[in-house]
Symmetry: C2
Subunit: 353 residues, 2 copies
């Protein structure tokens, strides 16, 4: 059967001041249609029924993870004792899935992305699940790039992959986030897609590769699951303390041969920064405001307030966000750096950030 | 005897969001050393004793005008039923002063300016009071300009004025706020001073010129004062309803011959805008912050918050002010326009502005 693992362990400090230590990005309502994680789940339910959808998140985020609000069974909400990147998270979820359904095929997806074309997205996911089942390979979703973004990793397509499911390619290579010159070159070749961070696999394949490439994680998760319900929390805590912090990309996919990429022209955005949110929601060069805002003579400006009024005059390409007791002002083009700024705020004003 | 009239009727919407409908500029603590009006009074007390200092302000500002906080007798706080610019305000104060002290010589000063060199300021005021008494002329304080400001009126100096009090000049003419080209020309001639809005006169001179140039105001104030304490408030209200709204500059000084100007190199600033406050308090091109603020890679930026934290990244020449439930962001160079922006905010969010 098909399962989905939604990875909701991130913190998203680049959305400070909206995202705080006690409220991570995936639990924010950034687009105005509900918390991101809920949108992600609602997008999946027609493809993967709620009983087969799993959420992995940090224990500190438990207040945001009411199964009733998420629409999935309580047993499918997996709380990690601490964050150790995606490899332990997916390993934990796959262990749960495999015990219930050894033949499972799994979609792993971040909780915090946005999709412009949902029907087409669902069609791609269905195709990807079929492809992963039939080939027994890892399948990644590649997004045809619209501009030479430097904030994403890229996947280079190799040969078209023959088979019953059409449209897939062999992965020639994964790349790190490129500089602008490299990104432009990628686009000119026509062979590169953005790495969406969504990938699909059979549970038995993942288990096998985990044991081969990340034996420490395999061993620790295995130990936690041996011995039944009693003491599981303590054993899991011990396992997380001992496991390395590593991503699936780095720990498994970069070492694996024969990975496939399925191009997914679905209006994907990782919504990684205020700028990408502005671009996902707004028209090019236009202003976008949420809340009680007065703009005068502004261009390409994004303003968001959850209380009081924000008045902005004569600014071009600027982000202004007021959330609770904090205010952020920065150029759109530097919204990547908000992460560092938020860390500085946290250091200097631990009670306010 | 010497008296001072501090004109505190203005509203100062250019300091929005710090200044609000219910809290005018002269009652703000903009410089960090107390409300402006209090600084203005403390500056004067060594020259003009508190019993001879008068404050004229709007009735709506009464909550900010506790005589104990101001340090002057309750009878010296004159509340206007409505704002009608400076001519009625000074006429009202001079009528009070003349009844107590017909030989008075008076300094009229706005409540909302700043002085960098207070000892020198006091020396100039003493000199100006002597000059006004001995010559029986109006004396204005002219500020040697430091740059071609377009936000101030200018006074052109004529011939040096002979007499026992040295350093005064005849006024050749008053000018409106010039454009930049004109302001530059003014500076090149070396004959122009900024009009500080401070002026001095004998009470009998003012009474005479009021009767001559603004007979309506003279008549109405006269009627209010005839008939004693009983019914005074009502008569004053009627007088204010009927008087024209006009400044002393426009209604009297521009029509008067023989006005003198005393150059006052005292570090005067009208603190008319966020920009001029920044310039008065800060070093050229530097950042200036009040409150819990984190700046990263900013230049020439002014940030002020009365609560919560404000984080600003990568901005140049920008003003960010958070006050209560409102936030303002604009380029320093456009802080004159905040007045219009505040009016727009008031129109759209009457409860928030």
């Amino acid at each position: 059967m098909e399962h989905a693992v939604v990875m909701a362990g991130g913190s998203g400090t680049r959305f400070w001041p909206e995202s705080r230590a006690c409220r991570s990005k995936q639990f924010l309502d950034l687009t105005g249609s509900g918390p991101m994680i809920r949108e992600t789940l609602l997008r999946l339910f027609p493809v993967v029924p709620p009983e087969q959808v799993w959420v992995v998140a940090g224990r500190k985020d438990a207040p945001h993870l009411s199964p009733r609000a998420l629409g999935i069974p309580g047993a499918n909400v997996l709380l990690e004792p601490q964050g150790k990147n995606t490899a332990p998270a997916v390993a934990y979820a796959v262990a749960c899935i495999a015990r219930r359904d050894p033949d499972a095929v799994v979609l792993a997806a971040p909780a915090d992305h946005a999709i412009g074309n949902v029907p087409r997205f669902r069609a791609v996911i269905r195709k990807g699940l079929r492809l992963a089942r039939e080939t027994g390979r890892f399948v990644t979703l590649g997004v045809p790039p619209t501009h030479p973004a430097t904030g994403y990793g890229y996947i280079e397509r190799g040969k078209p992959f023959p088979g019953r499911v059409k449209g897939a390619f062999e992965v020639a290579r994964f790349t790190e986030k490129p500089d602008l010159v490299t990104a432009r070159r990628f686009l000119r070749t026509g062979r590169f897609d953005w790495n969406s961070g969504l990938f699909l696999f059979r549970a038995d394949l993942f288990a096998d590769r985990l044991a081969r490439f990340l034996p420490e994680i395999d061993r620790e998760i295995g130990k936690a699951f041996r011995g039944g319900r009693k003491g599981f929390d303590r054993r899991l805590r011990d396992a997380y303390r001992r496991m390395p912090s590593i991503s699936v990309d780095y720990g498994i996919l970069e070492k694996e041969k024969g990975i496939l990429v399925l191009p997914a022209n679905v209006g994907w955005s990782d919504l990684g920064t205020w700028r990408s949110l502005h671009e996902f929601l707004g028209s090019r060069g236009g202003n976008l405001v949420f809340g009680d805002v007065v703009l005068a003579d502004c261009r390409d400006t994004f303003v968001r307030t959850d209380g009081g009024v924000v008045a902005v005059l004569g600014m071009d390409g600027v982000v202004v966000v007021r959330s609770g007791d904090a205010v952020l002002v920065c150029p759109r083009s530097r919204s990547e750096e908000v992460k560092r700024l938020a860390e500085e705020v946290r250091r200097r004003y631990p009670l306010l950030a």
